[in-house]
Amino acid sequence: MMVFPKLLRASAVFVLAIAALPSLAQEAPDVMVKRVAGDVLQTVRTDPKVQAGDQQRIREVIETKLLPHFDFERMTALAMGRNWAKATPEQQKVLVDQFRTLLVRTYSGALSQYRDQTMEYKPLRADPAATDVIVRTEVIRSGQVPVQIDYSLTKTAAGWKAYDVIVGGVSLVTNYRDEFNEQIKSGGVDGLIKTLTDKNSKGVPAKS
């Protein structure tokens, strides 16, 4: 008798969670970007630890709120270009892992510099049946030229996933393609892995 209500409650929560899943999966890409970005920025603005510059907490926020919506494997493959096929599955796994770490560290640095700016979300111009879309947003800063931030997203079984971010016309993936190419040219895939690992194992620069 004691166990039953608990069990019932637990299963009710479980059923609710299952019921919520399909609606999440069908969430339109622009709605998702708006929800996730809004959630992250809201946390950054209000969380006292983030406000105090606690890197650990900032990374936690990114890991839990942002990362599930990115397809890092696709991102890494795109940044590798033709070199992706040359890497063994093991190398690919390490590359995805290290690239993700690098991006998280960079992004947490960027988030600590975030000031009160307004995000504007542009209406999505895409075929409802499209499986690859670009969601356009704009950061408005008073007295400065607005910065466009576009997200390239692809539809997967687990909902929409971002595979590129284009800030003011600068595509993250394109930018890293040159860097990856350069490293692979001089040291092969292992050379690139080593550079990434070395960079990631260094401490975060204490201050700018």
Binding site: Q113, P146, Q148, V170, N175, E179, F180, P205, S208
Partner: protein, 237 residues
């Protein structure tokens, strides 16, 4: 910090790299960046000068000068830029954009000659046209990439645009040279101060800052020339 601890040694190394590069032309340069060895040397020189002189001054400026005053300076320089953005909007036949730019200049004249950015409060969007973009719009290719110490990344086309922009002033018209130089100085420090956050981000993000800055600059300029919808990039072979 540690990167700038041995400025002389670094400068020495940079000069050595420069002479080697000029003598041998080692790395196979790409189409965008035929002067890569020289540019890399200039990048190193810039890193040393920036880390030891310019950046500390900019940081001091941020600490010593109240934000209100800094914003005022930024606004005045922006106001002049708006005027040139308007000119370049006209040169590209973008009358609506040019109208916004000139509108901003006129409105901001009422804000103490540009000290207060009233136009932004009124919601008149800030433009960013310049001579380099106008040349690009006219179909002039960007030419070789250049890295200029104390200025940063540019191309032959964009650099020419910058020279024209500086030539037409209006600071150059001031008859008294020391005042002119002080204004140039404040303008430069103010610009550098605005970029303090960006440079630390580049250090964190990049595997090779030189390549990172070059690709970002070229991507950004292509995007600007096409007003946000550049043609899809072809994969380099």
């Amino acid at each position: 910090m540690s990167a700038h601890r041995f400025p002389l040694r670094r400068l020495h190394a940079a000069l050595l790299v420069a002479s080697l590069a000029l003598a041998g032309c080692a790395a196979a340069p790409s189409k965008d960046d035929p002067f890569e060895p020289m540019n890399r040397a200039m990048f190193e020189v810039n890193d040393v000068v920036d880390g030891n002189v310019v950046k500390p001054i900019a940081e001091l400026y941020v600490q010593a000068v109240p934000k209100l005053v800094r914003t005022g300076f930024t606004n005045v320089f922006n106001n002049i830029d708006d005027f040139f953005s308007g000119i370049n909007g006209l040169l590209q036949g973008k009358t609506e954009k040019a109208g916004n730019d000139f509108g901003r200049v006129i409105v901001n004249m009422w804000g103490l000659g540009g000290l207060i950015d009233i136009a932004s409060d009124l919601g008149i969007p800030k433009g960013n046209e310049d001579f380099g973009q106008t040349f690009g719009y006219w179909g002039i290719p960007q030419g070789p990439y250049l890295f200029v110490p104390l200025w940063g990344p540019t191309t032959v086309r964009d650099g020419t645009g910058t020279l024209i922009r500086v030539w037409y002033g209006p600071v150059g018209y001031l008859p008294y040279v020391p005042v002119r130089n002080i204004i140039y100085g404040i303008g430069a420090v103010d610009l550098r101060a605005q970029a303090l956050g960006t440079t630390s981000l580049i250090d964190q993000a990049s595997l090779d800052p030189y390549t990172f800055v070059r690709r970002a600059y070229l991507q950004k300029r292509l995007y600007d020339v096409y007003d946000g919808s550049p043609p899809p990039e072809k994969e380099e072979e």
